[in-house]
Point group: C2
Chain length 407, copies 2
């Protein structure tokens, strides 16, 4: 029997793209009814990310990114530029416990859907807002993407080889971390509401998320003035603790203690690694370049799979640098229940699960990411809108061209 | 008036280093009483990360990393290798609502502190466990750090220049994201407990965290077979959307739409950027290398501050590649309340705040990261341990050498 942690909780999610949809998907996974309110003609632009027309078709009509972040949600298409559309949105929100959005500051207020508007009639409403640079200050009105905040936060400066230009973190880490921060905020507000009956306004931004990911670097700078810079794959704390080349790939080797370093040298049958310059932690740090050079010379003669196996057997910390496919197909991810799989008759797709498990929850549902506007009528009627009002508003364009009858 | 969301909640945190302490700090910021249980002689090794002896002294005795992740906590030093120590730990836990740890699988069970042991007397206990590769499967017993999971997950493969070896993400993103995931899990469990009275076991890992950060890449691979590879700072979705060199630094320029590209070319007074090869989105993608080369040739003649100002004024998405210090001292981070500052008399330190704000919470407290074992006696007596029992256990070494009286 599955316990739905968020049974009975209803979420009106006006957001698009990555961060807030990721949060909304966690709420949906935990059993909330998540109503994704989208512009009715094109919807959330993530529906089309990274795909040409054939690829979209092959993926069942939406992009892999949209699949990854929008399972278990209902889709309602509403044109918020029309007063009828805003009336419909307010009808939905009046039945909801949580509102989420990532519009520019002031937009929801223009729609009559700002927190101060809604809290009057719904004092227990939880309202979650998300922005690029935060809700106040000189940059409050500026939109930005994950890469811009990688730059702004110093993360880009720290990523890359020491003597070459910076490179981006290969995934939208600031976006997805912000989605996780918002999830914690929403759950904290729901907890508080259980205790007190009161709702509240919670908020995060790419800026807060990026600062959290950089927090120990900022602390180091504030406390000591020291500023780190990029070091390739190396780490100032210990040696070896970086990527080494194999004959046909790369592996991370982490062997900073004396005992582990000994085992590493022995496992690789490499006499050249056994020398006084490398016999203590301090000496290995001191002769870092020599050590890294010699160890690289050894590892690049090994096939990567054998290198990882031999070092792993010797209890040296090692990890293969996996491609995306090797990582996705990894047996350990499967063993821990790290992804969900649909039944074949529903599409048989796989999707990474939420990043934690809970013993009171046996099973996470997996309903495919919704077609645009698929649940418009059902949700609105269930929200208390009389069917004849729905039809009137539909003919006025409140739900987009798909609902406008030919006269 | 500050509302403490977690007022009255008591947390026994046995964890060390980054991920779980980051979670515990969020609980402490929200008003929980967080009791950090440490090995009594050296404590959490993060106390010493990245610092020599002079630097430690200058930072008030603990490393900047420890400051960044351990405010608002109490520290208790307990030697869990001794039965008296385990008895003391069980005394604390018996008064707690939440237990957190990141020991190797099986360790807490050996101490009589496993979830199955504790839930019998404390059915509403929330127990949070954390591991590198998850609690089951072939890799369950293997320790690993953030870099190893960057490699294992495919994130390392995606980070770096296209024709050069991979580089690490410059911060411990998988660690801190896992801490955020655990925070969501704990708050979800606390919510569930408010509704049902029942506790539960929650769990996460670097593996789950890394898969979540990579989820849309895995979805793309599972759905289409396509596997991405590293691209420097570029992005396959749009052009330009990457880092460009300035005369004295770097800036990210994102101008993928026709109108924004026009404004970019005009703002830079660069006729060479106005050409038919660049006049549509499709053409700019097609002639990516030419565009990037020409735009780089223009930008590297500009001082970075002027480049950012001129493009920002023209409403082109731009962000300077800040150093750590520039990012930490950024006016926008201050404007949004992104960090906390202690009063001068408490040390006057700054620390990045939790990555979200809540309207029911006016102010987050900021008590410095605790000295090792500073609250051992107070916490144990407050947990119901009679003072004479404390003294007996202390003399037997339960709380380390600092508490052993000379005979």
């Amino acid at each position: 029997m599955t316990t739905e942690i968020l049974k009975g909780i209803r979420v009106a999610d006006f957001s698009r793209v990555f961060a807030v949809p990721a949060c909304a998907q966690i709420l949906a996974d935990l059993g909330a009814e998540v109503i994704k309110i989208e512009e009715p003609e094109r919807g959330d632009e993530a529906r089309y990310y990274g795909c040409n027309a054939e690829e979209l078709e092959a993926c069942g009509g939406v992009s892999p990114s949209f699949h990854a972040l929008n399972r278990n949600k209902l889709s309602v298409g509403i044109n918020l530029a029309l007063e009828e559309g805003r009336e419909a949105a307010r009808q939905i929100v009046s039945t909801c416990d949580v509102v989420l959005h990532n519009f520019r500051v002031g937009t929801m207020e223009k729609f009559g859907l700002g927190y101060e508007d809604l809290r009057v009639l719904q004092p227990s409403l939880i309202y979650g807002e998300f922005s690029a640079y935060g809700p106040v200050g000189d940059l409050a009105k500026i939109g930005a993407n994950d890469l811009a905040l990688q730059a702004h936060s110093g993360l880009l400066h720290l990523t890359g080889e020491a003597d070459r230009p910076p490179v981006r973190v290969g995934t939208a880490a600031i976006d997805l971390h912000a989605g996780m921060a918002l999830s914690t905020a929403i759950m904290s507000a729901l907890f508080h509401r259980e205790r007190t009956g009161r709702g509240q306004f919670v908020e995060t931004s790419l800026l807060r998320s990026s600062a959290h990911l950089m927090n120990y670097f900022y602390s180091e700078y504030w406390l000591t003035g020291k500023q780190r810079s990029r070091m390739g794959t190396a780490n100032h704390l210990s040696v070896p603790n970086q990527v080494f080349p194999a004959r046909d790939g790369y592996a991370v080797i982490i062997a900073p203690s004396d005992q582990m370093w000994d085992r590493c040298a022995k496992a690789l049958n490499a006499d050249r690694l056994v020398r006084p310059e490398f016999d203590t932690i301090a000496n290995r740090q001191k002769h870092r370049d020599l050590l890294v050079g010699l160890l690289s010379g050894v590892t690049q003669q090994w096939p990567v799979d054998k290198l990882v196996q031999v070092l792993g057997d010797a209890k040296v910390n090692v990890a293969k640098v996996n491609s995306v496919g090797e990582a996705a197909d990894d047996a350990q991810l499967e063993a821990i229940g790290g992804f969900l799989t649909q039944p074949e008759e529903d599409g048989g797709r796989k999707s990474v699960g939420m990043p934690f498990s809970m013993s009171e929850v046996d099973e996470i549902p997996f309903r495919s990411a919704p077609a645009l506007g698929a649940h418009t009528r059902t949700v609105l009627v269930a929200s208390g809108l009389p069917p004849q009002d729905f039809d009137r508003m539909a003919s006025q364009g409140a739900f987009g061209s798909a609902f406008q009858k030919n006269s």
